[in-house]
């Protein structure tokens, strides 16, 4: 890169995080640190049944015996789990209707571009807004209810639909699955619950917007989506957090279940605060996302655009059990400054004629490190299974790193696994070509990066694709080069 390019990239990287404000609101917090008492307190606060408390306590006991995983290409000072708050929620009781939601909160979401007022809302999108540890509002519940769709905070689902929650919770990601999933299982406070009954196409996009506000508070949300036979749903999550100097922990679990012929499309635009240019602050994002294609010809599709967080550790996966089931993973991971991302997917082929597609686009700028880590596993029974993997890395500047770690385990001779990988830089001639056509250097980089990500962005619902494009450009600010 030329000197000017380098300089522009650096300016771009220094650009301000737009969602870094804090909300001043009275909060209820439990004491710092983690213990069985805290787990009991969370469970009691939510008025949970005994079985769920037991489940949490078991997870907590398992977690105590586990070690933080060390295999990912990420580095951070040890996390002091006793210095965190595990529950923080706006002090006022959960409102019964949108009219009762604290105006400060409504303002917060408005500022984030997520109006919760149904009249002002994005057409055709129902939103569950999770603020720190609780859901503060869910829109369009009536409209959805008429279609038989359940979309509510998971804490409410535990009370209103205990049989469904009990049947499916932990059935895809068991409580003791891994260190962070165990922690989440012990202390999860809220998240979204979606149930699409047999044969129903969800009439609107569903969306959850996660906002971390409180200081020193971990966010541990839990999402559970079930699509019964022939049902389909498209779900989107977005997330932001204030700019704070200390790191904050986010350890979520998402479980998806697709029965026969069901389709779940799960899209994420992750924009947690990434820390400043020197790597100070930012969210530690340790997330377990997994979908089970239990039924015949079921399909689960993950699309993620990851631009935020100081550290991203995340591998949305598919267990392809049903015959002819399909798993997809489309990912854009962009790191800048000192960000670290270790992300990818696991496609576990169990059923016959299962197929999976992995398209991963990693963009590294500044001093960041970006790793794709993926596993394609074909079990002996998965005759006729197919996988196609494409991993492309784009480097901006020469201080950053891109790594591709694909694991393939094929135990069925009739399976076909294809893997392609490329690494490239934004070429000087591409930038000059764009600039000679009047584009500024930042706009040129934005255009080229968006072009690089096109195969993934086109998988996003339209409204969000535009948002994601802008986000990519903004996230690169200060990085051009």
């Amino acid at each position: 890169m030329s000197m000017t390019t380098e300089a522009t990239i650096n300016e771009l990287a220094a650009q301000k995080y737009k969602y870094g404000f804090t909300t001043d609101i009275e909060m209820e917090e439990f004491p710092k640190g983690l213990s069985t008492d805290i787990v009991r307190l969370i469970s009691a606060k939510k008025g949970e049944p005994e079985w769920l408390l037991e489940w949490r306590l078991k997870a907590y006991a398992a977690w105590l015996k586990m070690e933080e995983p060390e295999w990912a290409r990420i580095h951070h000072p040890p996390i002091d789990y006793d210095a965190l708050y595990y529950y923080a929620a706006p002090a006022k009781a959960m409102p019964k209707s949108l009219d009762e939601v604290d105006p400060e909160l409504l303002k917060t979401y408005e500022k984030l571009g997520i109006p919760l007022n149904e009249r002002a809302a994005l057409a055709g999108v129902a939103v569950d807004a999770v603020f720190d540890s609780v859901s503060v509002a869910t829109t369009f519940r009536e409209t959805l209810g008429k279609a038989g769709v359940i979309f509510c905070p998971i804490s409410e689902a535990v009370r209103e639909h205990p049989e469904l929650v009990r049947k499916y919770l932990g059935s895809v990601v068991p409580a003791g699955d891994n260190y962070f999933a165990a922690l989440n299982s012990a202390v999860f406070s809220d998240g979204s619950f979606v149930f699409i009954p047999k044969g129903v196409r969800c009439p609107m996009e569903l969306s959850t917007y996660f906002r971390i506000n409180a200081r020193n508070t971990g966010q541990f949300e839990r999402t559970l989506i079930i699509a019964e036979e022939g049902a389909s749903v498209s779900y989107l999550e977005g997330c932001t957090a204030p700019m704070r100097d200390e790191n904050q922990l986010h350890a979520a679990v998402v479980e998806l279940v697709a029965l026969d012929e069901a389709k779940i499309k799960y899209s994420t635009v992750q924009n947690w605060y990434p820390g400043d240019a020197d790597g100070k602050g930012g969210i530690y994002n340790f997330v377990t996302k997994r979908g089970a294609c239990r039924g015949r010809n079921s399909k689960i599709s993950w699309t993620q655009v990851e631009t935020g967080s100081a550290i991203t550790w995340k591998y949305p996966s598919c267990i392809l059990q049903g015959e002819g089931s399909v798993g997809e993973f489309y990912s854009v991971a962009l790191t800048n400054n000192r960000q670290q991302a270790d992300t990818g997917t696991k496609m576990i082929h169990i059923g016959k004629n299962t197929s999976s597609t992995i398209i991963s686009k990693g963009i590294s700028a500044g001093h960041s490190n970006n790793t794709y880590r993926g596993l394609v596993k074909i079990m002996p029974g998965a005759s006729g299974a197919r996988n196609f993997t494409q991993c492309d890395s784009l480097l901006i500047g020469d201080q950053c790193g891109a790594h591709t770690v694909p694991y393939i385990e094929n135990r069925n001779a009739s399976a076909k696994v294809e893997h392609e990988a490329t690494t490239s830089k934004i070429a000087e001639d591409q930038l000059f070509y764009c600039r000679s056509r009047g584009l500024s250097e930042e706009d040129a980089v934005g255009l080229i990066v968006n072009g690089f990500c096109k195969d993934v962005l086109k998988e996003l619902p339209m409204e969000f694709a535009v948002e994601a494009q802008k986000l990519l450009a903004v996230s690169l600010e200060g990085s051009v080069g």
């Binding site: 009047g438 968006n450 072009g451």
Partner: protein, 247 residues
């Protein structure tokens, strides 16, 4: 008006342009011919502001303004356009999107109103038709998988839409068949008016049958070694460049 005065430029340690002096008044088209490696492309890059070229002496004025200090995008906004000898591929970037982004960036810089999608498409479709290209041209990614001829036509499409005051065509005719050549020439000729000027770099006199230049210059060894009227091109075609470098 473009005024190049005693321009010296180097790439790394190698001096490529060794004192180029050339004036193109508004409304005129000048051709530059010369052997491979003479510095023709280098001149076009220096004029449009590519990084990596160091100007060690001389100046370039465009409408009286010193452009050597300007960023490439500002030169584009000032009305300069370079049709690349080797147009660049932009994977995943749609041609229409690129054109519109480019046009609006320039309009913004000039304080003009941006074109909305509908108005732009109308403009682009018209230009595509005029250049005898298929409409799916707009949907394809910029230059990706284009044939050599398609790439050159795409440069002409951009020129038609951006409507520059000064167009520099760097061997746009190379590799084109006669029909494509005529289309390129027509693209330039339709822009011709008392304000428009062009610097047409070519190896072959052939193009100059269709774009009749006001002047022909020969660039060899980093200098203009001969200048003359359009007929100079025919003369060169017959005799070649041999001996000119020494002149």
């Amino acid at each position: 008006m473009l005024e190049i005065k005693n321009l010296h430029a180097r790439i790394g340690d190698a001096e490529i342009l060794k004192g180029v002096t050339l004036t193109i008044p508004d409304g005129e088209i000048h051709a530059i011919m010369g052997p491979n490696g003479a510095g023709k492309s280098t001149l076009s890059y220096v004029l449009s502001g590519r990084d990596g070229y160091e100007v060690t002496e001389g100046e370039v004025l465009f409408n009286g303004e010193n452009i050597l200090e300007m960023e490439p995008e500002d030169r584009a906004a000032a009305g300069m356009f370079l049709a690349f000898q080797y147009p660049v591929e932009l994977p995943g970037v749609g041609n229409a999107n690129f054109l519109r982004t480019s046009l609006n960036a320039i309009r913004r810089k000039r304080g003009e109103e941006e074109l909305d999608a509908v108005a732009f498409l109308k403009l682009a479709r018209g230009a595509v038709k005029q250049l005898a290209m298929k409409e799916d041209f707009l949907k394809r990614n910029v230059n990706v998988g284009f044939s050599g001829g398609e790439k050159k036509r795409n440069e002409m499409l951009q020129m038609a839409i951006l409507k520059p005051h000064l167009a520099i065509l760097d061997e746009t005719d190379s590799g084109l068949d006669i029909d494509a050549l005529k289309i390129v020439a027509e693209g330039v000729n339709t822009l011709r008016d008392e304000k428009f000027s062009a610097l047409v770099i070519t190896h072959y006199q052939r193009l100059l049958d269709y774009i009749v230049p006001d002047m022909v210059h020969v660039l060899a060894g980093g200098k203009i070694v001969r200048s003359g009227p359009a007929s100079l091109a025919q003369e060169l075609e017959a005799s070649g460049y041999a001996g000119l470098e020494a002149a």
